[in-house]
Assembly symmetry: C2
Homo-oligomer: 414 residues x 2
């Protein structure tokens, strides 16, 4: 019954409409978190939600919620959504697809004869992508009470603080702690996101069911040696911060390969003084490791740290940790996952089980409520680029499966 | 006889006078090659040379020559000098010490009863230090015919070309090839330079005799992999330009340690896109190797290249060479070296034999004439910093030994 009511054309029109907000002359979309471009996308969403007769509210972290009332309004809402910010020069699907699908499901619920007991809320999380303020998943972390002390003081390259930027988009920095939701305040959270990887395209399938979302540990280290003349300083006298950093990077790579499914990356290296004829005196590097298994993540992080300390000690250098952040792996709730899998089966869709190695707002929602997630196919496995695309049949299938699963969960949950 | 005539106070006053030209508010001296600050130092030199009754000429490369006439003016001149440019935030001795000592020797020859057969010329080479135009030892290379095709087209960060900068200091870019000297045009070349290393200070000695000047091979490489999402790209699928570069750096270090006295450095690494959550797609790196032995330099360079090609092939990346320059090692001429050693012995000075791992103008003069070089002690082995210093007794000893050696060479050479 419900399958007939999802209107693909409406979703495609929404994707295109959002694709015109924050276009970057250098290509793609640049709707950075907490920017006025992201705010324009929020404004667009509010208009669509009002047109669908939904009631709107926002919180002090700048998250946006649009509600379709349920038959038993005292029940905690079922919730779905994603984010509308993008990376610089990003694409039309990352985040937007999840919001557009949740919005379409809400419209169908509001318009059609799909009477749910639970209220249904579409959420637009604030600032999911890595932002100029050195953080990501800001809105969902605020809901989970995971905004770090001092985080609002971070400044972007222009010297604007996260606090000021949040205020400019209508948030209330002083109330950030009050955003935290109590467990049970949401009955279940479902999110659709583009896969950002090759598995669904390789399998020729429109969607998959996410089982786990990786935890991510990140650190910023300063390796301190001694700058010296590259000619007159013999190989034995050197305290070369670049060579030590090279060893650390290769050890991190070797160790990450030891843990199945884990990944480890040194994405950033800045050398001082970075001159052809001076032995590097100082290197700032950033590394991260990811795993869906909490024990692996911890063991790998400890091994990287031990290896790095041994390398700098052997070479007579020093290591300073400038920053360290971590998120724990999150698992889909069995009840929500079953509802999604059963909805797929009922529609004759083969939906492989997938792990998410990318972070998502859903990862933080898992700390608050029963979480489930669908991945839709990423054409060419491309993500965070202007060409980012997901096939229309993936959008249609995900919206229909989401709607079916909500109907199932509405019956099962209180 | 001549020992009595060197006037240390004049040399110290000259060092101090030059130390007031091009002072940098951030510390030390910034008289970059081809800058107006370097030009002010050349002007200062011209005034001192005129006061000493010397005749002046300059060439199309901006080199400056001040001559004391000899008893047999048809003979090719004996020559000594160094450079007056500095690195950014450099010190008062690198280059300046060699010019000031040669100038003092010229004054003594001109004033006193030291009648040489050969003319004696003090040379101030243009732009010896690494310059904003990506080159070094400009003036001496021009004399040796080693300015590379297209080198004058190089531009600094402000977009000014070497050609324009040369014209601004009175050089003639179109005549650069005519600067080349024919072998025999100089009877012998002697240079005093601060050691920029620890050997003399450790030995508690004022000066040493240089036996060889290292050859330097430099390359700028681009390692090209593929930028990818640091979460969704498994360790096996990566083509990580940073990990490949780390391997290349460590191989270069390992190989350089295999050749006694050689050094190898990766001084510059620039990562693209240099973001915490993106597998590095591209790395620009600069490396150099130095050795006083031509065969070692070549073998080491080949080994580095082979190792790097194997690393990028194994990892499925590409390597592009953006630039490559090389200078061959230079040996002091036995006749000049003997004259310097005998002068030291005659004065009761213990002067160790030293290799120079830093490049010098003398290295290019060795292609044209009999070359010899003295190192004077560097306090704290410091160089290229505002605190750069050499003891007054080193200056005095070097000037006296230089004058004695010139007298010996004047008799021996035609």
């Amino acid at each position: 019954m419900t399958a007939l009511t999802i209107v693909l054309e409406r979703m495609l029109a929404d994707i295109e409409a959002l694709g015109r907000i924050g276009t970057d002359p250098r290509g793609g979309l640049s709707r950075l978190g907490l920017s006025s471009q992201e705010q324009l996308a929020h404004t667009w969403f509010k208009q669509r939600a009002r047109e669908a007769g939904m009631s709107l509210r926002s919180d002090a972290a700048g998250n946006l919620f649009a509600r379709v009332q349920g038959g038993a309004p005292a029940l905690a809402p079922l919730m779905s959504g994603s984010h509308l910010d993008t990376v610089p020069n990003g694409g039309k699907y990352d985040g937007a697809a999840g919001v557009v699908i949740a919005l379409e499901v809400a419209r169908v619920i509001a318009e059609c004869d799909v009477r749910l007991r639970h209220p249904f809320e579409v959420v637009v999380f604030r600032a999911e992508e890595p932002s100029p303020f050195g953080m990501s998943t800001f809105g969902s972390r605020a809901l989970a009470g995971r905004v770090r002390p001092g985080e609002l003081d971070a400044v972007d390259a222009a010297g604007c603080s996260l606090r000021e930027a949040l205020r400019a988009v209508g948030g209330e920095p002083a109330q950030i702690d009050a955003v935290r939701m109590s467990p049970g305040a949401v009955a279940a959270y479902l999110e659709v996101h583009n896969e950002q990887g090759p598995h669904l395209e390789r399998a020729g399938l429109p969607l998959g069911v996410v089982t786990e979302i990786a935890g991510i540990e990140r650190a910023r280290w300063r390796v301190i040696g001694e700058p010296n003349h590259s000619g007159t300083t013999s190989m034995l006298e050197r305290r070369d911060a670049l060579m030590a950093s090279a060893e650390i990077a290769l050890e991190l790579e070797r160790l990450a390969r030891n843990y199945e499914g884990a990944v480890g990356t040194v994405g950033v290296i800045n050398v001082e003084p970075n001159a052809a004829n001076i032995v590097p005196g100082c290197v700032d590097l950033r590394w991260e490791i990811r795993s869906c298994f909490a024990a692996d993540l911890q063991a790998l992080g400890n091994a990287v740290e031990r290896a790095a300390r041994a390398i700098v000690e052997r070479r007579g250098l020093r290591l300073e940790e400038l920053a360290r952040t971590g998120s724990v792996p999150a698992s889909a709730d069995p009840v929500v996952r079953d509802a999604l899998e059963e909805a797929c089966t009922a529609r004759g869709l083969t939906a492989p089980l997938l792990r998410s190695m990318a972070g998502h707002d859903a990862s933080h929602m898992a700390a608050l409520t029963k979480m489930g997630m669908l991945f839709i196919r990423s054409t060419g496995a491309k993500s965070h680029v202007p060409e980012e695309h997901s096939p229309p049949e993936s959008l249609a299938a995900a919206a229909a499966v989401m709607l079916d699963a909500l109907v199932r969960l509405d019956r099962m949950l209180d």
